[in-house]
């Protein structure tokens, strides 16, 4: 508590000194929009995920099990698998590419410093969570996340996101998406433990691993193996008309108009 208060006072001092003396650009660097201190969670751990795309068949079992485990409202997802059909323009050969998406629990999460009430914060084990009792639902974090990993939960009217199933990890269980993955494509673990499966895989495939939108400098901690570089940013793709209906016959998916 004392440390938090000290850093708060420090920020205030820097702010007021900055306001009087320095130009605006350096004021902006004097602490505004920088990461607040991490709190709670186990400081001896750093959770991360490695997704072996070579094992992903795009069955969406992770999407469904996450949806059930975390009781997300219909049409809102903490994780999904993007599915692409890629055609070689010369040979005409077709291939599918699957890209599971979820919160990247970034080392430099842009969603955290924007929160006006520190309802969303990063635990010391690296997991980014939301305190839904404190969240005011301003949705600033939803806009600040480049990965579309956040949404305003229709039912709670607060920000909602993947937590690596922190409640399950605490109980010694795997996250729902990892547990249900038929190909074993998702590997979660403590990256500070050199003997964990994820640490060994990262060590083994260090040069082949990629993250999404590295240019945003968010330092994502979800690593993709077997990734095509063209998919790390928004892929140049044609959308296909597809309707997903909920039980009331309302369209939940995306309807494209050409």
């Amino acid at each position: 508590m004392d440390a938090i208060r000290r850093s708060l006072l420090g920020q205030l001092a820097r702010l007021s000194a900055g306001a009087a003396l320095v130009p605006l650009s350096s004021l902006a660097q004097a602490g505004i929009n920088q990461q607040p201190a991490r709190r709670e969670g186990d400081p001896t751990k750093r959770y991360g995920m490695l997704i072996d795309l070579r094992q992903c068949i795009g069955c969406q079992a992770c999407t469904v099990s996450c949806h059930i485990e975390n009781a997300a409202p219909l049409g809102q997802f903490r994780t999904t698998v993007s599915q692409y059909e890629v055609q070689h323009q010369e040979s005409g050969e077709l291939a599918t590419f699957m890209l599971p998406r979820l919160c990247n629990h970034c080392e430099n999460p842009p969603c955290v410093p924007v929160c006006p009430v520190e309802a969303t914060y990063q635990q010391q084990d690296g997991i980014v969570v939301v305190d839904s009792d404190r969240c005011v639902g301003c949705a600033y974090c939803v806009n600040a996340c480049p990965y579309d990993a956040r949404f305003i939960n229709e039912r709670t009217q607060t920000a909602d996101k993947c937590t690596f199933c922190a409640h399950r990890l605490e109980a010694g269980l795997l996250p729902a998406c990892v547990e249900s993955c038929v190909g074993g494509a998702r590997i979660i673990g403590d990256m500070r433990d050199p003997n964990s499966q994820i640490s060994r895989l990262i060590q083994e495939h260090r040069d082949a691993l990629m993250v999404l939108q590295p240019e945003k400098n968010t330092l994502p901690q979800v690593f993709y193996l077997g990734m095509d570089e063209r998919f790390t940013t928004r892929p140049v793709a044609e959308p296909v008309a597809l309707e997903v209906l909920d039980p009331h016959g309302q369209e939940m998916g995306y309807e494209f108009h050409h």
Binding site: Q11, L12, L15, L24, A28, G31, I32, N33, P36, F77, T80, V81, S82, Q83, Y84, V86, Q87, H88, Q89, T96, R101, P110, P113, V114, C115, P116, V117, E118, R134, C135, V136, G137, C138, A139, Y140, V142, N143, A144, P146, Y147, D148, F151, I152, Q157, T158, E215, K216, R234, P235, V236, A237, E238, P239, V240, L242, M252, G253, Y254, F256, H257
Partner: protein, 404 residues
């Protein structure tokens, strides 16, 4: 090169609703009209007094309504007190939540000081108007000009804080490349001044004040800020034209692939250029022709307001429709309910109510930089503008001493 199609693209809803547009629009008019009121009310320039009176009513009404729209954009509005219980100095929004209420108080303070002499003059009036004047004017003592200037300067300082935080709040969001540019905050300020000058032109006509001085001054302000906005847009474009990532690259991509973005870009540039040209033309007419033409300046005011609002709509709503990860563009209709049309209409309705309440109970036409308001000086002001005397049935009914 391969061709790719995305088979399953989820729909990502917008996170900020049209309430946000209303807030950014209202608060921009608020801070800009405060600066338009400043020459007369803070620095004592008499020639700007009619402008200041119109700008002050614009400023107060929008300052009152803007925070309502902001609260409504929260999904948990009743938790607004969390902003103060758990303030986070790392967040521009949190800094804004501290600046905004102090700014609101300073604006209300300035308006009270500027309206007080006229309220004092109305104390003896009969009916509700007199009662409210008696209650609001807090005694007969003189209002020191220095106090008006000091409160006004404080308000100006805080308004700069509002300009800074509203702009920075958007500009720091790297996840929306179109916002993530240093040119956005100044552009918000420039279009804010365009909208505020436009509103003063419209109020000048609607209130029956019809001051030619105010019209001329506002046309110059419009001309200046149209030029500034044009320069900012040009600098932004040249600054990023050759970059592969960033704000300009994202904008060019949107314009290239989306017909609706193309028409938006075209509409914005054409309207801006046309507004600048017509205002310049109007100001270049020979002086004896100007009064007749100035009677139509309120139409330009409407165009200017439209510019300010549309810019915010495009920046806040349309940019949220640019997909960040999935293929194609999101297209949303505006919902009818409170997160859509009802919110927009409701905010404007509330604003109109605020204006009408001020019109009913406050002699805002006699706002001045403190001092004592004598009936003689009021008469002199009223008769200097013959049109004003005929138009004001509302105040006349309440027994305002100088109308009718």
């Amino acid at each position: 090169m391969n061709s790719t199609i995305e088979l399953l693209a989820p729909r990502y809803d917008i996170a900020w609703y049209p309430w946000a547009v209303q807030y950014f629009f209202m608060i921009a008019i608020s801070y800009a009209s405060l600066w338009l009121a400043a020459p007369a009310l803070i620095f004592g320039k008499k020639a700007w007094l009619p402008t200041a009176r119109l700008a002050l009513i614009a400023c107060v009404s929008t300052t009152l309504v803007a925070p309502v729209a902001l609260l409504a954009d929260l999904h948990q509005p009743l938790r607004f007190w969390h902003f103060y219980a758990y303030a986070n100095t790392h967040s521009w929004m949190s800094i804004g939540s501290v600046v905004l209420p102090i700014y609101l108080i300073s604006v209300l303070g300035l308006a009270w000081l500027a309206w007080r002499p006229a309220l004092q003059a109305q104390r003896s009036a009969s009916g509700l108007g007199g009662f409210i004047a008696k209650w609001l004017s807090l005694g007969n003592g003189a209002t020191p000009k220095v106090l008006v200037a000091v409160v006004g300067l404080t308000a100006l300082l805080l308004s700069s804080g509002i300009m800074l935080y509203t702009g920075a709040e958007l500009a720091v969001v790297k996840a929306r490349p179109l916002w993530n540019t240093l040119w956005l905050p100044p552009m918000l300020v420039a279009t804010g001044f365009i909208a505020a000058a436009g509103l003063v032109l419209v109020l000048n006509r609607a209130s029956g004040l019809r001051s030619n001085d105010a019209t001329r001054q506002m046309l110059y302000v419009l001309l200046g800020f149209c030029a500034v906005a044009g320069l900012i847009a040009l600098s932004w474009l040249l600054d990023g034209m050759n970059a592969h990532v960033g704000s300009v690259a994202a904008a060019l991509e949107s314009v290239r692939y989306s017909p609706s973005w193309r028409s938006t870009a075209l509409w914005g540039s054409v309207t801006g250029a046309a507004l600048f040209a017509v205002v310049a033309l109007l100001l270049l007419r020979p002086p004896h022709r100007q009064p007749a033409l100035f009677a139509w300046a309120w139409l330009l005011g409407l165009v200017a307001i439209h510019m300010g609002w549309m810019f915010r709509w495009v920046v806040l709503m349309d940019v949220q429709h640019v997909a960040r990860n999935s293929a194609g563009f999101h297209h949303y209709g505006i919902p009818a309910g409170s997160s859509g049309i009802l919110g927009i209409v409701g905010t404007f309705g509330l604003w109109l109510t605020a204006i009408l309440l001020i019109e009913l109970f406050i002699p805002w036409r006699q706002a001045q930089q403190g001092g004592v308001n004598t009936p003689a000086s009021l008469d002199a002001q009223a008769s200097s503008d013959p049109l004003a005397a005929t138009s004001d049935s509302l105040n006349a009914k309440q027994g305002a001493p100088n109308h009718g």
